[in-house]
């Protein structure tokens, strides 16, 4: 085989090899069309090389003529695909230049097939053979077609396009690419000028248009090997960071997991398996995970997962798991969902943390807080015993008098049964009143779990005023209420919230004990805090206010200014409010006295209807 044949074939083979590589890359990364474009251009370049090889070995005009015409097809394909590739790969190149090149090149192709021979020649008279580097090669002899200039103009535009794109990329700072891709492109663009020169008979060489592409092949080959090397580096880095992550996760007692939603397979670290009580080889799917959840928490976890899958918001949930051994654990889970291009959830990954110890501590703290609140409630009730006795005494008093009156009526002749009926009616309603008071007392005195009701703060205020009514009368304190109607609900324990209010009302009364009776005025206000989702309650007195230096101390345990009293009331109140995710604070009024405020977060409005009636009593 002659070296010319070998060289042209090798060029074609190199182009095809690279085309194959990039085609394979494109198959893996369909979202990057420039790999496909490059592959197309490389195939076109290989085709050109093969056409040229054929031309070099042609002996007659008849053999040569169709080749001169058909070589324009791969040339057209090469130009179009390569220009598009540059545009997409380098993000450079002017749009008007691209369309000019496309238009001109397509026009050349059309004209090429209209003219009798080709765009380059009006006629080929002979195929001249000469020795080139010791090998016999063929070149055409004929009349050049003046329309061939169009082809040259398109070549010129291609060169300008290449130079412009290279400059843009260089300026952008990506010098390596500018040099490699831009440089090789310009090299090819310059080298391609041998074609018109051969046609016009200026130089005497065979066509080697296929080789103008070899610099580009080399450059892109280099890019590819670079990518491969980088990918290998990345794989190693990923492995290292995964190891680090697992180490960190293990030492933080975090179980990492990934849920393949399409196949419903859950991968989880060994730590995580231990956390949920899975053995080390067990295959885990969502159903198995679900079976580990505490029945009471199952629904909330499923809801959280469904919400993430539907909205893409991150998943977050705290729940209990029941291990096969019967052990109960608290887990905090967090995760993220991944979606495919059709917004279908495909994968969810995240981490689970064993928070059993923390939860136990929280529960312990809550129990203590509860006991404290209960103790404080009992103490306060002791102080209010007069008021409570009164609350019971009134209905009992009405009942006794009514009953004795009825006895009298029945003893007399011609008893008025209508009157007796009325009396019995009153006895019933007063008895109800008394049992209501007893029920309230029992609620107050019972030590019980904290309730989480949705309740109306205005009702809490009214209940407290009912409880303390006779004390207020005795102390001659006038109460004014400014309760904003239709306030959104808050979540909380009705008794504990009553306790806070009662404490603040009692304090306010005590603060005014030394004021003249006409000035003992108490104002209770409820409302919505501006610009936040919180309900506010304030209790304003007309006493002597709080010395500024004590403003924060009043909430400390055992701080008291009263002769009797342990100084626990306000500190307990603050603890209770904090447990309700609220705040309690005090201010002095501009004129006289002090105001105690507390703020509680509102519940989400959508839950409003469900809860309304629970309230407190």
């Amino acid at each position: 085989m002659s070296w010319v044949t070998a060289l042209w074939s090798m060029n074609a083979a190199a182009c095809l090899t690279l085309a194959g590589f990039y085609l394979a890359v494109w198959c893996k990364q369909r979202q990057s069309p420039f790999y496909l474009l490059f592959s197309c251009s490389a195939i076109a370049a290989a085709a050109i090389s093969l056409f040229e090889l054929w031309m070099l070995n042609s002996r007659t005009v008849d053999q040569y003529q169709p080749l001169v015409r058909w070589i324009h097809v791969p040339t057209w394909a090469l130009t179009l695909s390569f220009v598009a590739f540059v545009r997409l790969y380098l993000h450079a190149g002017r749009t008007w230049l691209i369309w000019s090149i496309y238009g001109l090149r397509t026009l050349v192709l059309i004209l090429n097939f209209i003219f009798p021979v080709s765009i380059n020649f009006t006629a080929i008279t002979d195929v001249r053979q000469f020795s080139w580097g010791g090998q016999m090669v063929s070149v055409p002899v004929g009349t050049p077609n003046p329309w061939g200039l169009l082809s040259n103009v398109s070549l010129l535009l291609l060169l300008i396009f290449a130079v412009d794109a290279a400059i843009v990329v260089w300026r952008r700072g990506d010098r390596r690419r500018a040099l490699l891709v831009g440089g090789s492109m310009i090299f090819g663009g310059v080298l391609a000028w041998h074609v018109p020169l051969v046609i016009w008979g200026v130089i005497d060489v065979p066509f080697f248009l296929g080789f103008t592409y070899s610099a580009i092949v080399a450059a892109m080959g280099y890019e590819l090997s670079n990518d491969v090397a980088r990918a290998a580096g990345l794989v190693r880095e990923v492995e290292i960071s995964e190891k680090r992550l697992n180490l960190a996760a293990d030492s933080a007692n975090v179980g990492m997991w990934e849920w393949d939603i399409v196949r419903d397979e859950i991968w989880i670290t060994d730590k995580g398996r231990a956390m949920f009580g899975f053995d080390s080889v067990e295959k885990i799917d969502f159903h198995l995970f679900r079976s580990r959840l505490h029945p009471e928490d199952r629904e909330s976890v499923l809801k959280a997962v469904e919400n993430s899958l539907a909205t893409g918001e991150s998943y977050e949930s705290q729940y209990r798991v029941l291990l096969p051994s019967g052990e109960l654990r608290w887990i905090a889970g967090r995760g993220q969902v991944e979606f495919d291009r059709e917004r279908r959830p495909v994968r969810m990954h995240g981490a689970s943390l064993d928070i059993t110890t923390r939860k136990q501590a929280e529960e312990q703290a809550e129990r203590q807080r509860n006991e404290m609140a209960h103790l404080s409630r009992v103490t306060m009730l002791g102080e209010l015993s007069g008021s409570i006795a009164h609350e019971l005494n009134l209905p009992l008093s009405a009942i006794l008098t009514n009953a004795q009156t009825a006895q009298r009526i029945l003893r007399s002749d011609g008893a008025d049964l209508g009157e007796v009926r009325e009396i019995l009616q009153e006895i019933v309603s007063e008895d109800r009143r008394a049992s209501d008071a007893i029920r309230r007392l029992r609620l107050w005195l019972t030590k019980r779990e904290v309730q989480q009701h949705s309740l109306r703060i205005n009702k809490v205020v009214r209940d407290v005023l009912k409880l303390i009514r006779s004390d207020l009368v005795n102390q001659k304190v006038e109460v004014e209420t400014e309760l904003t109607p239709n306030l959104p609900a808050v979540i909380g324990d009705p008794i504990q919230l009553q306790q806070i209010l009662l404490n603040l009302v009692v304090n306010a009364c005590d603060a005014m004990a030394s004021c003249p009776t006409s000035e003992r005025r108490l104002i209770i206000r409820t409302g919505i805090e501006n610009g936040s989702r919180a309900i506010t309650v304030s209790i304003t007195d007309q006493g002597h206010g709080i010395p500024e230096k004590n403003m924060e101390h009043v909430f400390e345990p055992f701080f008291t200014t009263k002769e009797k009293g342990m100084g626990l009331g306000l500190s307990v109140c603050r603890t209770i409010i904090a447990a309700h995710r609220g705040t309690l604070w005090a201010t002095n009024n501009s004129e006289r006295g002090a105001t105690f405020h507390f703020r509680l977060p509102m519940t989400a409005p959508k839950k409003k209807e469900a809860i309304d009636n629970i309230g407190s009593s």
Binding site: L394, S397, A398, T401, N402, E426
Partner: protein, 206 residues
């Protein structure tokens, strides 16, 4: 308010108790008027009213004790029976000191209340009677001339006509005439009766 018929005025801010007591008293045959506050009572108060007041000790605004004070200042003769849920000793002492007729704790037994009301009304009747007599005597006293008044004072002090004449620097005969006028104007048939009448008005002899 009927000034002639004894009425029990019930003042209590708690309606069920107020109504029950009113009903009991009516059943027992009393005329009853109810008020939900001290102010409501004062608004309709007639100083000439007779009967008694059944008063709740702890009421908002004007309390029972304060109403008692107001009535005392205005010279009311109405006896007051206090009703209280928590019979605190200092308060009951204060109420009794200021002339409360009775001090009962709620729940109150019907007989206790009725007895107290009857006693109070009786007391009121007696006081009113006495008051009426007193004002009658005072009216008679007012008809005496200054000289006759002087003579009256000497007479009730047990002085003889002669002694009186000496003290006044006049003759016994003149004293006799004055003395006859005094006895006639005061409507006294004997010196002993004259002494009793003047003592009730707090007039002593010279």
């Amino acid at each position: 308010m009927n000034a002639l018929q004894p009425t029990v005025f019930v003042v209590d801010d708690y309606a069920p108790v107020r109504n029950a007591i009113s009903r009991l008293l009516r059943t027992a045959g009393f005329v009853v008027a109810t008020f939900e506050s001290a102010d409501a009572f004062l608004a309709q108060y007639n100083p000439a009213a007779c009967g008694c007041v059944v008063l709740d000790l702890a009421m908002p605004a004007v309390s029972g004790l304060e109403l008692q004070e107001i009535l005392a200042q205005s010279g009311s003769l109405l006896p007051i029976i206090f009703l209280t849920a928590h019979g605190s000793i200092p308060k009951s002492v204060r109420a009794m000191k200021h002339g409360a007729s009775d001090f009962l704790t709620k729940p109150v037994n019907d007989e206790d209340l009725l007895t107290a009301v009857r006693a109070a009304i009786e007391r009121n009747r007696a006081v009113r009677l006495e008051q009426a007599e007193l004002s009658e005597i005072r009216a008679r006293l007012a008809t005496l001339t200054p000289r006759e008044r002087e003579v009256l004072e000497y007479v009730v002090a047990g002085k003889l006509n002669k002694q009186i004449a000496g003290s006044l620097g006049t003759v016994e005969q003149t004293v006799k005439v004055h003395r006859a006028h005094v006895m006639q104007k005061m409507g006294a048939r004997s010196v002993a009766e004259l002494v009793r009448l003047t003592q009730r008005c707090g007039i002593g002899g010279r």
